[in-house]
């Protein structure tokens, strides 16, 4: 019993330290522009790495998810004589959930891992200390540019995932299953509101911020050489993926109040 309590206590302590560090990093990022100039050259190079580098994986994810989802929706709806509902359902699912969540998970895997590994290696090889010793804040130099780059890149990536998802769904249902093109597209356009797309883009930005802060925290806290870098990388991906899935529920509930789903008629 005592051991159990001790274990619970130590988990609670670890969690509070974790969230404390994450909160203090968030605060430092928010207050950094007050004290330092923003390093736009670094922001630009991070946009290339985070945004442009992630495009292919996000597009492929979006396209295949859109196509698969369209196929499943079409099989079910068509048997009920509701084939034309495929477009609206695919569009709403991609805009509000699948686009941002899947793009977020792919970016967490690709970019979160690379951020944690890079900053973690800099930590264990004393490059972070070298920055500090020269009067350069690691948050200002490493975290702020990555955060801004992520805020700029994520909505574009989510938009691409949604667009390619809908494109692939269109291709499959119209060309593959023979649903009349006008039927599919008009229903889809009628049912998709600006609020649906905005929901996806807002979620994307928030997921991006979660990924970058979790991965940077993990990198900056790295210890124990190469083993520590490996652990930091794994935890960055796992933690940011879980954070995306958990935060997504609350975002869905909040955003549905702010940008409610409009009912549509077939």
């Amino acid at each position: 019993m005592t051991a159990l309590l001790q274990r619970a206590g130590s988990i609670a302590l670890d969690l509070s330290v974790y969230f404390g560090q994450l909160g203090s990093l968030t605060w430092e990022v928010l207050s950094a522009p007050l004290h330092h100039r923003i390093r736009w050259n670094l922001v630009l190079s991070q946009i290339v790495r985070i945004g442009i580098g992630s495009q292919l994986v996000v597009i492929i994810t979006g396209a295949f998810t859109g196509a698969v989802f369209a196929a499943q929706a079409y099989f079910k709806f068509n048997s009920l004589g509701l084939g034309s509902a495929t477009g609206p359902v695919v569009s709403l699912a991609l805009c509000r959930e699948l686009g941002p969540v899947l793009a977020g998970l792919m970016v967490a895997g690709r970019v979160g891992a690379s951020i944690a590994a890079e900053i973690g290696t800099m930590k264990v090889t004393e490059q972070i200390d070298a920055l500090r010793s020269m009067g350069v804040s690691p948050v200002d130099y490493l975290v702020v540019p990555r955060t801004i780059a992520m805020i700029i890149s994520m909505p574009i990536l989510v938009g691409e995932a949604i667009a390619f998802g809908i494109g692939a769904a269109d291709l499959l249902t119209v060309k593959g299953f023979g649903l009349p093109a006008a039927w599919f597209r008009i229903q889809l356009i009628n049912a998709t509101e600006a609020g649906d797309i905005l929901t996806g883009l807002i979620k994307g930005v928030i997921f991006g911020i979660l990924i970058v802060l979790i991965a940077c925290r993990q990198g900056l806290q790295t210890r124990n050489g190469a083993v520590g870098v490996g652990q930091a990388t794994t935890r960055a991906v796992v933690d940011s993926s879980l954070a995306i899935l958990i935060v997504n529920l609350f975002l869905t509930l909040i955003l549905n109040q702010l940008l409610p789903m409009v009912s549509f008629q077939l």
């Binding site: 090889t125 004393e126 490059q127 200390d129 070298a130 010793s133 020269m134 009067g135």
Partner: protein, 253 residues
């Protein structure tokens, strides 16, 4: 540059204690680093030498005790308040800590740019001049991964000295180098210290290399200062742990 009073210590530590990962690394370290001299902090592995070095520049905070730089208390300064002090101190990290993603030129120019220099021509000239001094002229475009261990340390020394600081801190500058390279890098530190009139602090366990450059020696064991004085006095010290260290090093080189 502020006027320097050589009678006043550059760094002063009083009763500094530090615990890391449950281990007491520093157990009440009190020491003074004289201005304008080369002080060598000697001690075996794990004695807490590098931890002391990191405390001198505020990279680590003590659990208790105080640290001052030329009379200014730095113990409770935050990162932003430490910047003016850090800009006066160059540090050579154990493995160089060169930025992997930058060329030699960008690494060496980095502190200058961060200190506000923006004229590309004068930066280029300053980098070329300092690389000439550390005997690596024309290596500007190489990446750190293309350099040998000794070259990395020399480039790191150039980066530490390009802003012409008042003080140079070196963490195990000869670790991982053969005896000839150890001697070369030690003499380079000594020459640069004299040329730039630096207060230097060198942390090392390599007595042979340090013999060449030490004006003042501090011996640390198990997080406590066991000796502070000249090299000759160290060799004549009666402390058993010092004699054990000296004889082991004398045999092993």
């Amino acid at each position: 540059m502020p006027t320097r009073d050589s009678a006043k210590p550059f760094f002063q530590l009083v009763g500094v204690q530090k615990q890391l990962g449950g281990h007491k690394i520093l157990q009440g370290v009190s020491l003074e680093i004289p201005t304008g001299q080369t002080t060598v902090i000697l001690g075996g592995s794990g004695a807490g030498k590098s931890v002391i070095l990191k405390h001198l520049i505020g990279l680590m905070k003590p659990d208790s005790g105080s640290i001052s730089v030329e009379g200014t208390e730095i113990t409770n300064l935050n990162e932003r308040q430490l910047v003016p002090i850090r800009r006066r101190i160059g540090i050579l990290f154990q493995d160089g800590a060169l930025f992997d993603s930058m060329t030699v030129f960008e690494n060496v120019a980095f502190p200058l740019r961060e200190a506000g220099h923006s004229d590309p021509l004068s930066i280029r000239e300053a980098v070329a001049a300092v690389l000439e001094k550390i005997e690596l002229p024309g290596e500007e475009s190489k990446m750190p991964s293309e350099l040998s261990g000794g070259m990395r340390k020399r480039v790191a020394l150039a980066r530490a000295l390009i802003t012409r600081p008042d003080c140079l801190l070196c963490d195990e500058p000869t670790a991982g180098l053969d005896p000839v390279l150890s001697q070369t890098i030690s003499l380079l530190i000594q020459r640069m210290s004299r040329e730039q009139d630096l207060t230097s602090v060198v942390v090392s366990h390599d007595l042979e290399a340090m013999r060449l450059i030490a004006d003042h020696v501090i011996f640390i064991k198990e997080g406590v200062v066991r000796f502070s004085g000249s090299l000759i006095d160290l060799e004549n010290a009666e402390d058993e742990s010092i004699q054990t260290f000296l004889s082991a090093k004398g045999g092993g080189g």
